[in-house]
Symmetry: C2
Subunit: 381 residues, 2 copies
Amino acid sequence: MHPKICSQSTCLNHPSYLNHSRPSPAALHHRRHTVTLIRCSSYQPPPKTLASSNPQPVLQSLKAFAPATVANLGPGFDFLGCAVDGLGDTVTVRVDPTVSPGTVAISSIDGIGSASKKLSCNPLWNCAGIAAIAVMRMIGVRSVGISLSLDKGLPLGSGLGSSAASAAAAAAGVNALFGMPLSEMDLVLAGLESEAKVSGHHADNIAPAIMGGFVLIRSYHPLDVMPLRFPSDRDLFFVLVSPEFEAPTKKMRAALPKQVGMKDHVANCSQAGTLVAAVLQGDARMLGAALSSDGIVEPTRMPLIPGMAAVKKAALEAGAFGCTISGAGPTAVAVTDDEKRGREIGERMAEAFWEEGKLKALASVRSLDRVGARVIGGNSS
Amino acid sequence: MHPKICSQSTCLNHPSYLNHSRPSPAALHHRRHTVTLIRCSSYQPPPKTLASSNPQPVLQSLKAFAPATVANLGPGFDFLGCAVDGLGDTVTVRVDPTVSPGTVAISSIDGIGSASKKLSCNPLWNCAGIAAIAVMRMIGVRSVGISLSLDKGLPLGSGLGSSAASAAAAAAGVNALFGMPLSEMDLVLAGLESEAKVSGHHADNIAPAIMGGFVLIRSYHPLDVMPLRFPSDRDLFFVLVSPEFEAPTKKMRAALPKQVGMKDHVANCSQAGTLVAAVLQGDARMLGAALSSDGIVEPTRMPLIPGMAAVKKAALEAGAFGCTISGAGPTAVAVTDDEKRGREIGERMAEAFWEEGKLKALASVRSLDRVGARVIGGNSS
């Protein structure tokens, strides 16, 4: 597929990038003139920025990759996620003399499915663009302009953290281009700006996409995230089965109950605690059982994904330790400690999607990605 | 104080001991004739019993101790608890030829405060008696009768698992008297019968009182509990401040909200996960912060304990990592990693109880009890 060619760029320091509502007419006017309006002196950067440093790039271009993520994990709804290997988005970040200093442009979007057609080339409305802008603002880049080329490895609306993967790769890429002045937590904050704009103010995809492994979101105000280390000597495989069906996050969010009964609350809290213990103790069986036990969110979302109930049943019957909806769906995620068994589980799940939901589905077996967003190639000339 | 002298004994195998409602007239009639009605052949014991073994005692008498417990731990409401050292109940268990074979009698109740006066000597309505009966039924004792002497080290209704400590000591004591045929999990089940009858069907006191350390209740049907090991090389101190005020569990339960908002649910789940991670990672600071963060139960119960809000504030100002209500209260529990600091925190908390709640309060600093219910003395003659 030919990449989508884009040409928009934008100023980094205007307040319109920092709130999550639609920009004001003044901001829109400003945006149309981004090439000439590079500095926005009226805007005071937040305290965490390194805006005074105006660093120089240490590379001319690089490729950054960030992995797919499975958020929610059943009773870990909205506060727990993990990264999975072998799937993700790649962003090429370049110092671009055709882009005005201090601004970001998206030069192309390529990749699988319909992702490249649906995504905006306006960096203000593109998840990679928003994250790149946030990182450049945080480190105070004013000396050069940056262009981004996105290579989407993840389909949109799949429940595998597609937007977070793009944001994470872009954030990590821009940070690396300038010698990595920002911490992982800063990058998560940058990515969260992006997530808040395109899919909701939740960090359970972006944090593991940046940090790798399992990550628990302790709080949002202030943002506080905690990596949970699954022991490296224990086997853990995720069976991911993605049907050809779009489950928009907003629709899946609208299905959530507003109120939760006290008994259900306690049961899910206990399973959330069990999930965390299972991760830290490297117990795949317990992790699967806990992930499979959500009595609050999964029951409301499952009927919205054709065949999902049968898919879960098929996974468990095939020996999975547990199964639930990945993120907001429609991908189903099952857990096992045996890769070969994982492939068999995946086949049964895909069959169930076809037989009960009339949906074609692709299955794959993945390990934990313990690294998160990283540079996979660079060029200093 | 002189011990309360009791003389009732009862048959172990009648169904009236197994449900939690008030006994039927037939059962009451049966109970009045327990000395002669030893066997209840109409009752089939549950599958887990070892009823056919009819074991002989390996000791003639022993003393068993079980520790105080802090249940709930903020967002760990109803599924997480831990045992604390240096406080608890002692039960002397004796083979008693004056007690009909296969039955249990409570011979005396002694101890602090008003506990000994308020507790029933009828083993069917006494937490230690119910647990002892359950253990004897499980192991199928028909050869001898048993008498229990209770020495209450914990006041009733204090929020420190007073009933669970008695039940745990009795259950462990009877089990030890017969050579320990039952597992810890069986003893937790026996203790849970007792808890269900006297204070509600929850295991977050009885499980740590039996097992020691931190225990997570994964499920009730079937009962599944998981010890969470706090690393032994990390310091952790509980500051327990008990005011002279009774907070009956039933009243405190009635104060609970029936429904929980989705946002509060997610926040508490995330803190429950953090609490578990803090325990397993031995992070007292994180444990305190998580324990202190309950946005659902603590806010509804705090106003029912005079001065509690000021006590929490005083604890935090004095350097505690966190503070909440222990169990259903009125004891306040704060967390620190320094024993001396713990004593200072306790003084400030007790002052706040007096100044804001007009309640006298006793403070003590305790470590984790990692052992749980145990035999502290035995006699084979």
